[in-house]
Amino acid sequence: MREQFLSNCEKNFIKKIILEGHRLDGRNYDESRKLDICFGSEYGSCIVSIGETKVLAQVSCEVVQPKQIRPNEGILYINVEISPMAAPQFEANRQTDLTVYLNRLLEKCYKDSKCIDLESLCIVVEEKVWSLRVDLKILNHEGNLIECSSIATLVSLAHFKRPDVTRSGESVIIHTLAENDPIPTVLYHYPVCLTFAIFQNNVLISDPSYIEETVCTSTTEDGNTIGGLLVVGMNQYKEICLLNHTEAAIHNSNIVHRAIQSAAERSKSVVDLIKAEIIRDDNLRQKRTKINFSDIITTNHVQSLSMKDLKICLKNYNINDIKMEEDNSPTEILDDKQDIKPEKSKYDVVASLPQTAEIKAKEGASTWIEISSESDVDSS
C-alpha cells in the first residue's frame, strides 16, 4: 500500500497548534510519552514501548571466526526489520530507506561509540570469538522509532547473558545455562538516541508522534520542509555519541544547544530506568519467578486502546476521572436511553448539528438502514 496521504488541513492544524504552544496529545514540548520495558523468558529479549510505538528486540550469539583486522574482538551485528505489522504501508521482506537509516544510526550509536567491550567476547585469538546479533522487529509505528529501537537495543544488550566457556588445551567447551551461570555483556556506558522535531527553526519538540514527525518532514508549498528531525545520541555521563539531522537545515545554533541540554536530562532518566528494570528482572529470576511475554497481555480492560493514551488529548484531561464512576453506571445502559432529552443549545451554529448527524446516518453511509425503512413500508 502507498504511504498514507496527509491532508492539508491536518498539516496546517498540527503546524498551528504547535506554534501556539499545544500538542495534539496534550503533552508539553519537552515531555515524552510513557516508556515501558518488559522482558521475555530468555536473556536478551524485551519489548520496549514509547506510548503506542512498540519494538521487540532479541539478542542471540554464536561462535564465529573473528575479522582479520581485529583478531581479538568479538562482533556486534544489528538488524532492524520493519514488517507490515508496524504499519500497512510497509512491504514484507523489502528494505526501505527507513530500515537502512535506522540500521545505520544504531550501528553508529552502539558500535562506533565503543560502549560494548568487544575484547571480552574473544575466546581464542584469531580463531573463535562470540558474535552478538541484535534482531529488532518493529511491531507498531506511532512515531519516534529511532528512540524506541535504540532503547530496545540497549536494554536487550544489557539484559543479555552469554553461555560460559572454558578452555581445556585445544578444545573449547560451551556450557549450557543450567551447568554454569551465564556471563553478562560488559557495557562501558549506556548511550541512547533521543529524537527531537524542530519546527520552523525555533520550536523544539521531544519524542515526536507519528503525525508530528510526518508534518515536520513534509514539504510546504514553496518546496521547503517545515522543519527537521534531530537525533542526539547521549550516554548517562552526558557525553554526546551521535548527532544526526535530517530535512530542513538549522540556521540557529541555539536550538541544538537546547536539544542537547534536554537530551542530557532525558538520557539520564532513561538509563536509570533501564538499570532499575534490569535489576528488578534479575531479582525476580533469582527467585525463580517465571517471566514471560504473556505477562503483557492484560485482561482487565476490554480492548487495549480504551485505557491507554488517546491520540488527541487535552493537557489536563485524565481518563481516570471518568472511569472511577464505572462501577455503578454501565449496568443499566438501556435505561439511560429514556433520560436523554434534546436540550436547547446556547449557540446558533451548533443547533443544526444533530441534523447533519441524522442525515448522514440515513444516507449512503449505511445502506442497510435505508433499505430497512423501505421494508417497513412494504410490510405495513
Binding site: S7, C9, F13, G26, L353, S372
Partner: protein
Amino acid sequence: MKVSIGDVVLPGDYFDEISTDNAKSRVVIGPGLRKEEDHVYITKAGVLKKKNPHTYWIDSYQKRVDIGGSTTAALSYLSFEGATKKNRPEVQVGDIIYAKLVIASKDMEPELVCIDSFGHKGRLGVLTDGFVFKCSINLIRKILSPQCPLLESLKNEWPFELAAGMNGRIWIKANSMKETIALGNAVLGAEFMSQEEIKKMSNNISATLAGHVY
C-alpha cells in the same frame, strides 16, 4: 452452531429464524450476514441484532470499511453544485472532502459526488481548516446514533462543526485550537464508554477547557 437474536456470534455460526419467517415479506440481511443455500451464515464476530420487521445485522468491531476503503475513488469535476465544464470547482490535492458514494460495488471503482439528487450541495463539499482523524467504524456509528448523548451534551458547551464519514474519519472544527483538541478528545474518549460516562466526560472536558479542574 445455531444462534439467535442477541447472541454473541462467530463466523460460521448459522441462523435459522430468517428462513422460517413468512416468505412473502422482504427480509433484509445487513453487514456480517450471508446467505448460502438454505442457511444464513454469519461472517463477522459480534452481536446479532434485529430491527423489526425483518432486518438483521451484526454489530461488530471494525477499523476499515468493506467498500471504497481499499482503492482510490473517482470524483468528477461535474459532481459539484453549479459545476459545468467551464466553471470548475476549486479542489486541490490534499483537500478533505465531505461527499457521498454513488457507486459502491466490490467490483467497481467507487465514485463520489458532492451534490444530492436535486443538484444542491447541502453540506457536502470541500472542508477547510479544522482537523481530521481516523477512528474505528463503531465509533462513527456510535456518535451518529440518535441515542448517543455525546454531541447533545457537547453542543451546549462550545460551538463546533463536525462531519463523520462512514469510512472511519471524523473532521472537526471549532473556534480555537484548544477547543478543537478538546472536541477530538471527547469524541475519541467516548469509544468504550457508557452513556452515563459520556455525559460525565463531556462535563469534565468543558470544565478542563474553562480552566478550572475539579
